[in-house]
Amino acid sequence: MQEFLQLVVSGIATGGIFASLALALVLIYNAMGLVNFAQGEMAMLATFVAYSLINRGMSFWIAFPVTLVLAFGGGVVIQRLVIRPVERAPVLALVIITLGLATLVNGLAGFIWGYVPRSFASPFSPDSVDLAGVFVSYRDLGVIAVSGLVLLAVYLLLQRTTVGLTLRAAAHHPEASRLLGVQVSWMLALGWGLASAVGAVSGMMAAPILLLEPNMMQAIIIYAFAAAVLGGIESPLGAVVGGLIVGVTVNLAGAYLPGVGGDLQLAVGLAIIIAVLILKPNGLFGRAAIRRV
């Protein structure tokens, strides 16, 4: 039983990392209707930036918001430079661009910082607290807490502020918004900046556990993609719930399903998600899409 609880708890913690990246994916999907394959790599780059800042003597709690701002700026720049010129292009072309971006960012990070894994200082101590025989590390709790806070902040921003309202309007009804004087293009840039910042949080939370190196997020993005789809690709809440479910399921499947060794964990996780999708095609929290004839 203790082992089971241990697996669940560590699954929730890993799920928190998936959730924060999934959230970034959902934000971009909401803004543009496409999956940004470069999200993980952008998060990794932001984490390296944070690493460099901390190495120069900045404390984590200062480097963290600074990195968020830089990541936000980076996201905006990417949207302006790379995405906006091809806004009208077919979706697949945009998807390929994000793939190109992913390759580019990965190579850039490898070039600047090399491929040897580095340790990234977490603000939370690595010790654990004993909760009735189950050990939960402060780090894992920190990841869960931060993911939750970020979701809350994004929710408040999108649902309770004018900026958020404008963002949502620009994403879902661009023509009407233009008529109302909204700078739709800049709203999309804002969306990218926001997603990039959220992704940076994911990277900084993941790095202490995964070890910082250019390929760090590649395993994560698959799970994040799955989590976002499971939760309903348009729902931020769905992304977080999806992430937690994916984290726990994958852990438990690896441990308890007979014949499934550690190597098929990913397979099982994805199979379960697909099974859910066959039953509930729009994900757990997604709304049924209206098919336009």
């Binding site: 072309a93 945009l94 580019l104």
Partner: protein
């Protein structure tokens, strides 16, 4: 005779390209022939993907897995059952096609994004799945495929033309070229005739297509099956041309490379996959090696490119191509051709209200 005179210029171009590829190995080294064989194999796989994505509008990020199926089928048949390699190619293709067809059935339920996820999942887990039945697949050790020597007929013909002995690599090049010619011809016919039109109708508007009486489900699963058939052929040829396959010959990045090739070449076109394959295959190699070997470039630039690996240059070029040619190279050529044509004809009013001829057929 008049048919030849009035044949569209495109047909002459195709003939020229075919002759070019037929004669190619006689003037290049055996090693380059093996490289081009790889590119042609990629073109076959991309053509399959193109049928699915470009013509029927379904997205797949997992065609590398179908290639793996084709490759392992051939390799296992040769290795364990001692079959002749050439016989295994169609077997692998048909088997993979069937699996693709079956895969297409549940795929009908999934909307494009979720289909992308499902096929992506397939690509991600296929290396692990291959490792499992280690007795059959060789597990992590992989399977070595012996490359056949050219048969005497081919050897003599080649020696007659070039005066040198034909190598295994060159013979394999011709096998892949033959398969590619057959499959491209097949795809061209598919696109021109009813199945192609039906698929395009489905791609452009499923409900309208259904309303016109097209069997949407049937054609969509057919598209999946056909595209898997192509991928299986490509996989089988890949095993032959590299001589060794293992689970890590088919990572996720292969499926992504196929999609990139399809889009960069130009979706819903016949020459697109070939151009896309040449791009996808040669660009990483060239950017890694060609730049550092150019002595006229300053040291800083070459060492930067070398250390950054092909990734950075590949990424930049990919982005640039998509920005300037969102419909792929073929799309760019078409728009360029149309623009040039218009200028030459002195057309003053492009908006004539006429429906343009269907540019989707070659």
């Amino acid at each position: 005779m008049s048919r030849i005179r009035t044949a569209p210029p495109r047909y002459w171009l195709v003939l020229l390209v075919v002759i070019f590829f037929l004669g190619f190995p006689t003037v290049i080294s055996s090693f380059l022939a093996s490289e081009w064989a790889q590119a042609i194999i990629l073109a076959i796989a991309i053509m399959g993907l193109n049928i699915l994505v470009g013509y029927s509008g379904q997205l797949s990020l997992g065609h590398g897995a179908f290639m793996a199926l084709g490759a392992y089928t051939s390799a296992i048949l040769v290795h364990h059952y001692k079959m002749d390699y050439l016989v295994t190619i169609p077997i692998a293709a048909v088997l993979t096609g069937l699996v693709g067809f079956l895969f297409g059935v549940p795929a009908l339920r999934l909307s494009p994004l979720y289909l992308a996820l499902a096929t992506f999942a397939l690509a991600v887990v296929s290396p692990s799945l291959i490792k499992r039945p280690a007795g059959l697949t060789g597990g992590v050790q992989g399977i070595l495929v012996l490359q056949p020597d050219p048969p005497d007929v081919a050897r003599e013909a080649f020696a007659f033309v070039t005066g040198t002995a034909m190598t295994s690599d060159q013979w394999i090049y011709y096998i892949t070229l033959f398969c590619a010619l057959v499959l491209f011809w097949l795809a061209w016919n598919l696109a021109r005739h009813r199945p192609g039109r039906a698929m395009r109708a489905i791609r452009d508007g499923e409900v309208a297509a259904a309303a016109s009486g097209i069997n949407v489900a049937g054609f969509k699963t057919l598209a999946f099956g056909i595209s898997a058939f192509y991928a299986g052929t490509a996989g089988s040829l890949l095993a032959l041309s590299t001589g060794f396959i293992s689970p890590d010959t088919f990572p996720v990045s292969l499926s992504i490379q196929l999609l990139v090739g399809a889009v960069v070449g130009g979706l819903a076109s016949i020459p697109g996959p070939l151009l896309g394959a040449i791009f996808a295959y040669f660009l990483p190699i060239e950017s890694n090696q060609w730049v550092p070997s150019q002595t006229w470039l300053p040291e800083q630039i070459t060492s930067t490119v070398k250390n950054a690996g092909p990734a950075v240059s590949y990424g930049i070029i990919l982005i640039l191509i998509m920005m300037f040619a969102p419909n792929g190279i073929v799309g760019l050529i078409r728009t360029g051709y149309v623009t040039v044509n218009r200028r030459l004809r002195g057309a003053s009013d492009p908006q004539t209200g006429q429906i343009p001829p269907d540019t989707q057929t070659v």
